[in-house]
Structures are given as structure tokens and as C-alpha cells.
Subunit: 409 residues, 2 copies
């Protein structure tokens, strides 16, 4: 089949036939509707479904008629593949009957993105060895930067599902308890002074597993619908004071932003690469065959300046390992769970995925636009994370962006 | 109004007019229906609503017609109070028109309890100073048992919402990564050898707050619908190996059991008592007026033997403080969130709320039924947590029980 689309602007945009990511869009003040992004258009899936154009995908009636992807997520890979195949056919250069499809195409400029899935549980991992090592060096300068468990299992924790928001949602600077200036001193309460970002990649689950069973590493990919960019906003001062011994809580829970379009795993198949070698070899329940690294170029823009460029292919723990680990104790994944990678940092300073690393704890300010400098975020600052596969100018698959502007406390 | 009910067995059972807790029940294999427990009966709320007997409560149509309490939770205290007043009237000795109400009463023996609310986020605190001190003594014997933040804020973390289950659900012994026998050794993977319980009390939220706002401590009680008993099952070996630096994950996420009947906060009003004095005084955002301790007697039964008796009135951090803290950073609570207290331990060994404390890390086995001993849980063991207000023999308000039996790995 042709890889070209008749939709103007689709080819070479990163949102052509190779991608076809899923999202939800709304006209101002109206109910969200499910869509696939094609170039700079949203293709409304409910319109196609009602017109009978998706009949061969064989989805249960109404799967695409609501505001959320969760019913589609629950169906699993055969349904996803069938739907994707039919959408590719409808949008391909070789397609007949474009007129009806055309009625389902709406320019993105007329629409607002909405969060396209109801988040069941949100889990955040810590899977970049460079990031974990950098934080270890800063927080525990006198010991091994990696704790003994780090190379043995994908360290992770549960984050807050309620505050997962779609790109564009303003992020209010959080209040919190700030650590005492010296040991034994008084903490204070006020707006965070160390507001940070975390550049992450997250996967959204499809069919889950019954409570009391596990998802094997070899099967994990079949439970993964697709990927989004994640900005796991962090208040470093709040986090530092609260996190012992039960982990991050309010330092993270105020907002987690995701990109609006969920890129199907199938679209990423051509960009699977070998993940870094793991030493020591993981325990059998974490072993996989095949290449599960993802060659996705990533960048962080802060106030108009690109301050970091990195790639997700360097993540030490892969997404099948993450999902196998997360369910190894028999807990149940559900359609719409979000599992984020943890901050993605490369080996050099310009490839780090957080400001605390890029400025080394605030020591080395970054140059941003208009001759300004930043350590942590100031009110009004805008952060944009971007991701794509292939050449930047003409990506095969784009994740678009996840954008957020800091509102004052 | 009379405090006596015409329903046989209700008075003095802990499930009389003073209580009227909400739950969901199902005949075998059928859809769950919302109900209030009265004595040993479930009063089906949908039947009353359809018969027009709840009209004066003024609820939106269909609030009580589904399988979950969430629509009722979202309405807030005025609606809850109106519904409670009308139910008390219908069930009171002085009531007329009992015949229709009678048709809505079903013996509990014919029904199975179901989880009555969709859990949004699940947060677990660590609010018993005795429990936190005991764990500190065991895990960090050479330093202050309480970390510097403990008396400054209600330490907590996000748990897993998907595996919150109703009383009676079997709990499969989880697999997990078990710590190396000695530092630098190899971890292994297998069934936990240190399966534990945690006796907790949890509150279920009603109306939430918009993202970017907070719930003030003084207003927090109006956002709390009611309370359940919580058993936060824990795999201590898994937890010990995984929890640094991001907190508990798989050591906790395999199951959290709750009692089936949500006791309304209004029913607990007569049992509010002063909470322990807090030293140092909490920061202003954590200050409350009034008495927010809850005088609830609690016990842990293991294989037929009561191994602990305690009371929730000793919890250092109160539930309004917990909710104010959890939302202080602007994150949004939602109807149906579950916030658990953390293990409730008293000052003496027979009042501890976990086996790791009761056996002091497995050193001192407990005598249970049939001349057996236990350190941690064995396959087939049944644990029952109970809670009540007033005298044990004739409680004013009962929480019933949360029960679980360990299934083999």
C-alpha cells in the first residue's frame, strides 16, 4: 500500500499514514470527540463509524462514539490493527470515496485537545541510568550514585492520576512545605522555589490482567496501546523534604502533562532498536527477546531556547520490562493506565531531561531566550517537550508536543 | 426522633439508625445495587427511589440507580444529610408505611458485598506516631526513629487504586523480588516470605476541588463522605528491597481490602474526641479547630485469635489535616478517592496494627488458634479486622469487618 496520503500536508509532517495517532478534540465548550491526527487535521472517528466506513474493523457499536479511548483500549491488538489498517486505506492516495472522509476532517486550529483517556493508575518509573546517577551524585555525594536495587529492577512508584492533564493546561506553581534552612530548623509553607520539569515518555495500556495474575515480559507489548510525551512537573524543595521514607508525594502530584496524541505502538515498530546491555543480567521474569529500545528524538524548549536534546533509545529499562515488573506481584493493569519512563537523560549535560540536572542543582544557570537565564522555572515560563522519529525536518512519526505555562501560585 | 428502628435486629447491632452505612450488594452473578445496611439486612436504595420514598431528599434522578456511590458522593453534605434524614425517618419506630420499605429489605445472607465506589486515587498516610516509631526502630536502629519531617507533615504516598478490593476477596500471595541475603548478593524472585497486614482506617471523599485549588483544613470534613476499615496488605521483603528512593510499590500494590459498608461521617459525630497534642504546633495550613480524633475501637483477628486491640483516637495526624495536606499543592481530589490512615498502632505490643510490629520483625511469634504460632502470614490464613464505636457487645456504630484469606502464590 502507498505510504502517501491524499490529505493535504499529511506526508512528511510526522502525522501521515505512518503515524495516525489517537486523541480527543473539542470545539470550544463542546463535548470532546475521538479523532486521529492527519497532518494538521483531526479525523473524527465517530463520523466515520456512523457512516459505516469503519465496518471492516469490526469494532463493537459505539466504541468510538464517546469522549474517551478507553473502550478502544480494552479491545486489544487485533482490533487496533484492524482499525489502523482501515484508516490507512481510507486516507491513502489510492483511496476511493474521499468525499465522506473529507466531512470528518476538521482543521486542528478550530479544536482544543482534551485528555483522550481516563487514567486508571499512573505509575512513574526511574529508568534512565544517567538520570538516576545524576540525582544520586547530587543527593548522596559520598556514596555510590546508584542504589543496590537500581540495576536489578525498574524502580518506580505510583503517582497521582487525577492531575494528569493534556498539553496546554496551565500549571499553577504549587504551594508546599519547604525544608528547613538547616538541620533541626523550622520548615515553612509557600510557593515552591525549585519548580522543575521532567522529560519522559509514557505508555498507555490496553487490555489489563485479572487481579492475581501477571503480564509476562514476552507478552507485555500486546498490552501496550501507544505512547505519549510526559512532563512530570516537580517541586524539588517540596520533594526533598517530604520523600523519606515513602517517596515523592506532593512534590509531584500537582500536575503531570501529556501530549494530546497517543502514538500507536505499531507506528513505532520501524524505530525499535536494541536497548542498552543490562549488567547484571536481569532475573528471568524481566527477560525479553527482541529490540525494545525506542529511537525517539526528544527535545526540551524553555522560553524559546532548546535547552536539551536527547533520545529515548538510551533508557536502561524497557517498556515490556516495566509492565512485567509492575504486574509481577499480581496487581491488575487496566485499559488507560499510564506508565511513564522517568526522566530521560543522556550522558552529557546538554542531553539531560530535567532542570535540576541541566543546572546541576541550580549551580549553573541556563541561557534561555532574550538574554535571560534560568535555574528553575519562573512564573510565566513556557516549557515545550517535543518528540519525533526520523529526520527532524520531515519526521516519519511525530509525537507533537506537550506544552505548559507556569501560572503564579 | 426515636433512635429505635422497626427493622428486626437493627437496634443494638451497630447497624441501627445511628449508623446507616452505604454499600453495594449483588445476588450471585447479578449487577450490584446500592444499599444501606440495617441490622442484617440491605435496604436497596434504588427500590426506595423508584417508589418515590426518597423524594424529599431531592437527589437528581438516578443518583442511586447505578452500581456505585460516586454520583451520591459528588453531591456533597447537604444531599447526604437530606438522604440520611429521610432514611432515618423511614426506618424509625415512628414510621408509617412500612410495607413498601419492607420490599426493599433483603437479608444480607442472600447477597454478596461489592466495592461500592470507583476509587479515583488511593493515598496511604503514615499517621500513627507509634507505628512510624516502631518501624524506624526496626529499620534504622542507630538513629532517631522518626525522620525530621514526620512531626511536620502527614507523610503519605500514592498507592494503587486498581487493586482496592472489597472484604472477602481472596488475597493471592504475591511474587516479587526478594532482597539479597547479604549486601552485594543476588536478589531472587519468588513468593513473598513476609506477608503482612496493616490495620488502617480510610476515608472516602465526596466533592473534590478544581485542579489548582486546595481544600482548607477547616473545610476538609465537608469533603469527606465516610469511613471504611482498610487492610493494606504488605510484602515486607519486597518492600524493603524496592523502596529506596521512591517509596513502596510492589510491596503494597497487590491488594488493599476495604470493609463493604461506608460509615457516614455524620454517624461518627458522637465519637469525635480530641486528637493527641501536636508538638511542634503544625504550620497554619494544617491547623484545625475542634475535635477530630475518632474514638473507634479496632481489633485484628488472625486464624481465630484476636492478636491486637487498639483505637484510632491515638492517630497523631487527623483526617482534616490529611486531606488539607494532600491538596495543599493544588492537586484535585475527586469523589471516590480513598485516603487511608496508615497502620494504626497503640503504645503497647498488644495494640500494634501490623505483624511486623506484633512479632518485632518476626523475632517473637504470636500464638493463634489451635496451638499454632505465626510470624508472618501462611497460605490459607484468614485475617479479620473489626471496628466499632461504643460497647463491643452493643455498639452504637459498627464498621463490620474486612476479611481476607491468603491464597497460595
Amino acid at each position: 500500500m502507498s505510504e502517501s496520503s491524499w490529505v493535504p500536508g499529511a506526508d512528511g509532517s510526522g502525522f501521515g499514514l505512518q503515524n495516525l495517532p489517537y486523541g480527543a478534540v473539542a470545539r470550544h465548550g463542546r463535548e470532546p470527540r475521538l479523532a486521529v491526527r492527519v497532518g494538521d487535521h483531526a479525523l473524527l472517528l465517530g463520523v466515520l463509524e456512523e457512516a459505516g466506513l469503519l465496518a471492516r474493523a469490526g469494532l463493537p457499536a459505539g466504541t468510538l462514539g464517546g469522549p474517551l479511548l478507553n473502550p478502544l483500549l480494552a479491545l486489544g491488538r487485533p482490533a487496533w490493527s484492524a482499525l489502523r489498517a482501515q484508516l490507512r486505506e481510507l486516507l491513502s492516495d489510492a483511496a476511493n470515496g474521499r468525499a465522506t472522509v473529507q466531512t470528518a476532517l476538521v482543521p486542528l486550529a478550530e479544536l482544543e485537545p482534551r485528555l483522550p483517556f481516563a487514567v486508571g493508575d499512573y505509575v512513574d518509573f526511574y529508568s534512565s541510568i544517567e538520570h538516576a546517577s545524576n540525582l544520586g551524585r547530587m543527593f548522596r555525594p559520598d556514596s555510590d550514585p546508584l542504589l543496590p536495587n537500581w540495576r536489578r529492577l525498574p524502580v518506580g512508584y505510583h503517582g497521582r492520576a487525577s492531575s494528569v492533564v493534556v498539553s496546554g493546561t496551565p500549571v499553577r506553581r504549587p504551594h508546599g512545605q519547604l525544608p528547613p534552612a538547616e538541620a533541626g530548623g523550622e520548615p515553612s509553607f509557600g510557593p515552591t522555589r525549585r519548580l522543575d520539569i521532567e522529560l519522559e515518555l509514557g505508555f498507555v495500556t490496553g487490555p489489563g490482567n485479572p487481579l492475581g495474575t501477571s503480564i509476562a515480559a514476552a507478552d507485555a507489548a500486546d498490552h501496550v496501546f501507544g505512547f505519549v510525551l510526559v512532563n512530570d512537573w516537580s517541586a524539588r524543595d517540596v520533594q526533598r523534604w517530604e520523600y523519606q521514607p515513602l517517596g515523592p508525594f506532593l512534590g509531584k502530584s500537582f500536575a503531570t502533562s501529556v501530549s494530546p496524541w497517543v502514538v500507536p505502538l505499531e507506528a513505532l515498530d520501524p524505530f525499535r532498536v536494541p536497548a542498552p546491555a543490562q549488567d547484571p543480567a536481569p532475573l528471568p521474569y524481566l527477560r525479553t527477546d527482541g529490540s525494545w529500545g525506542l529511537d525517539i528524538a526528544l527535545e526540551v524548549e524553555l522560553e524559546g531556547a532548546v535547552v536539551s536534546r536527547t533520545n529515548s533509545s538510551g533508557l536502561y529499562w524497557t517498556f515490556p520490562q516495566q509492565l512485567a515488573h509492575a504486574t509481577a506481584n499480581g496487581t491488575n493493569a487496566r485499559p488507560g493506565d499510564l506508565y511513564a519512563s522517568g526522566t530521560i537523560s543522556g550522558p552529557e549535560p546538554g542531553t539531560y531531561g530535567s532542570l535540576i540536572e541541566l543546572t546541576w542543582g541550580g549551580r549553573d544557570p541556563l541561557a534561555v531566550g532574550n538574554g535571560s537565564q534560568r535555574t528553575f522555572l519562573e512564573d510565566g515560563d513556557t516549557v515545550v517537550l517535543r518528540g519525533w522519529c526520523g529526520p527532524r525536518e520531515a519526521p516519519s512519526v511525530s509525537f507533537g508536543e506537550v506544552r505548559g505555562t507556569i501560572a503564579p501560585a
